[in-house]
């Protein structure tokens, strides 16, 4: 067993436990986007940053990937952490302004205005769908492609994958688009997940091609009716 201090409280956890799990055990809330139980930790969204160490050696780490260490001092809501988290959320909000999950998180962290240009990228490259496809569905139909600013998620050669079973797992876990995540009943299929009167995602051209790796796309079929 490893004993560490989180926000001044002692906690004993088993070897290999991450800081996120330890904090959850104590009940300290840490917001996450790319973390999901049952999927391997990835550390892509950086939203779960916590501060470890003391004094000048203190640093920010992503709690979902950092394993608990003996006598570690962790602060989940210090000024530095909150500032970093706020900036990350602002950037995420700029790249995916239509996401209800990100809007809620931003609102909860007191973001009242947007300083960055909205990009409407429709994907934050959190890799949830890729891990869902590979680890839970054991299909490996979608994955990361290219690199740098051209990095994207999709099927090889942009054609329907032979190994895709149309399970919809990728759509279910996606935090960037509410239409696909929330509704499985046709009558509720008008999005509105972001609580906008005119949801920006519905108006967007080629909406049915966005992030949807299924053929035919379940959500788009619903929308047509």
């Amino acid at each position: 067993m490893i004993t560490l201090k989180i926000n001044g409280l002692d906690v004993s956890v088993e070897q290999g436990t991450t800081l996120l799990e330890a904090a959850k055990f104590l009940g300290f809330p840490i917001p996450t986007l790319c973390h999901m139980e049952g999927l391997s930790p990835y550390g892509a969204c950086r939203l779960c940053v916590v501060e470890i160490g003391e004094g000048p050696k203190a640093k920010l780490v992503s709690s979902c990937t950092y394993p608990a260490e003996e006598d570690l001092r962790v602060r989940t809501a210090s000024q530095r952490v909150l500032r970093a988290r706020k900036m990350i959320l602002e950037l995420l909000l700029a790249s995916c302004p239509q996401s209800k999950i990100i809007q809620d998180l931003a609102s909860a962290h007191g973001i009242r205005q947007q300083r960055f240009k909205q990009e409407h990228e429709d994907c934050i490259l959190c890799g949830l769908c890729v891990r869902m496809c590979a680890e839970q569905m054991v299909a490996k139909a979608i994955g990361f492609r290219n690199r740098g600013q051209n990095r994207s998620i999709g099927t090889p050669f942009d054609v329907k994958s032979d190994v895709c079973r149309l399970c919809g797992g990728c759509m279910y876990v996606c935090p960037a688009c509410q239409l696909r995540c929330t509704y499985n009943e046709p009558e509720k299929a008008i999005c509105g997940g972001c609580a906008n009167l005119t949801p920006p995602c519905v108006d967007k051209e080629q909406f049915n091609d966005m992030m949807c790796y299924m053929d035919p796309c379940v959500a788009c079929e619903i929308k047509k009716d």
Binding site: I142, P156, D158, V159, K160, S161, D162, V163, N208, D209
Partner: protein
């Protein structure tokens, strides 16, 4: 809509060069089936086809038990790999900081204009592919342009047309008469010391060197250029590329012996005497251009 995309994609595969699955299998056999050799496999396929055909990646995925997604991720991650066919000649212009401030963007613009393509594209006749690179490590020589592996330094806008013309002709072609590395030599037979010069037959506009060659019980003359550095010659009968020939003196009819083996291909080097003192050696393999001159 998506269905259409799938169909049109299949059509485009058919129109492309057919992928030889036997070749891919041979490549795979050479490499360990375990992980860690994917890049080596892809590199070899790219050398063969000039790009990575979709069909080839599917075969690799099938045979190595890797998912196509992983292979595609690697193939799109590295800039070496291309999923689109490349042109016969690769023009690579440096856009590093040093080249940039010395006017590389204007040179790339000129290339784009002359070829009618944008950087990263291939001309329609599949002759040229224009690429940019972020640094070639020769910053003092900027702007640097690499065409088919040949480096050109301090490239000016006015030199672009010349470079493209040269690329089509090939850069290893020597300009006889202009190049200082080419000069005439008189050679004698090492056995009978008879002059091998043949005034009646000219190669490169100079009297040639006459020898008798034999290959597979066939015998005939071979006339070499007497210019050292020129690899031009003519023969009585066609010699297949890569064949090693036997050389005989046309005067004493004795075989010309070799003293060493070619450092490039391993075939015997044929030695002849140079009048004035010295030995000139040429490789006996057709197509190998290795030659050496030892002056005493």
């Amino acid at each position: 809509m998506k269905q259409d995309a799938v169909v049109s994609n299949k059509d485009s595969i058919k129109s492309q060069e057919q992928v030889d699955s036997e070749y891919i299998l041979r490549v795979l056999e050479k490499h360990d089936e375990n992980h860690g050799e994917l890049i080596a496999i892809l590199e070899e396929i790219q050398t063969e086809y000039g790009y990575l055909p979709e069909e080839a990646l599917r075969i690799v995925s099938d045979k190595t038990n890797r998912s196509l997604v992983d292979i595609y991720a690697v193939a799109t991650f590295y800039r070496t790999f291309s999923l689109k066919p490349k042109g016969k000649h690769l023009v690579c212009a440096c856009l590093g900081t040093a080249c940039h401030v010395r006017g590389a963007p204007r040179i790339i613009e000129e290339f784009e204009q002359q070829l009618g393509i944008k950087a990263g594209q291939t001309t329609e006749d599949k002759e040229f592919t224009l690429e940019t690179v972020n640094c070639l490590g020769a910053c003092a020589l900027g702007p640097v342009v690499v065409i088919d592996g040949y480096y050109f330094s301090k490239v000016k806008k006015s030199k672009v047309t010349q470079l493209l013309d040269k690329a089509i002709k090939g850069f290893d072609e020597l300009e006889i008469g202009k190049d200082k590395r080419i000069f005439p030599v008189d050679v004698n037979c090492p056995n009978c010391n008879h002059d091998l010069k043949d005034e009646t037959f000219e190669v490169d506009g100079c009297p040639s060197v006459k020898l008798i060659i034999s290959l597979d019980h066939k015998e005939g003359w071979l006339r070499l250029s007497s210019l050292y550095g020129s690899c031009n010659f003519s023969t009585e009968f066609e010699i297949p590329e890569g064949k090693v020939m036997n050389f005989t003196c046309p005067h004493c009819r004795k075989k010309l012996h070799s003293t060493s083996n070619c450092s490039m291909c391993g075939a015997p080097m044929i030695s002849m005497l140079v009048s004035g003192g010295g030995i000139v050696s040429i490789c006996s393999r057709r197509g190998c251009k290795n030659h050496m001159l030892d002056l005493i």
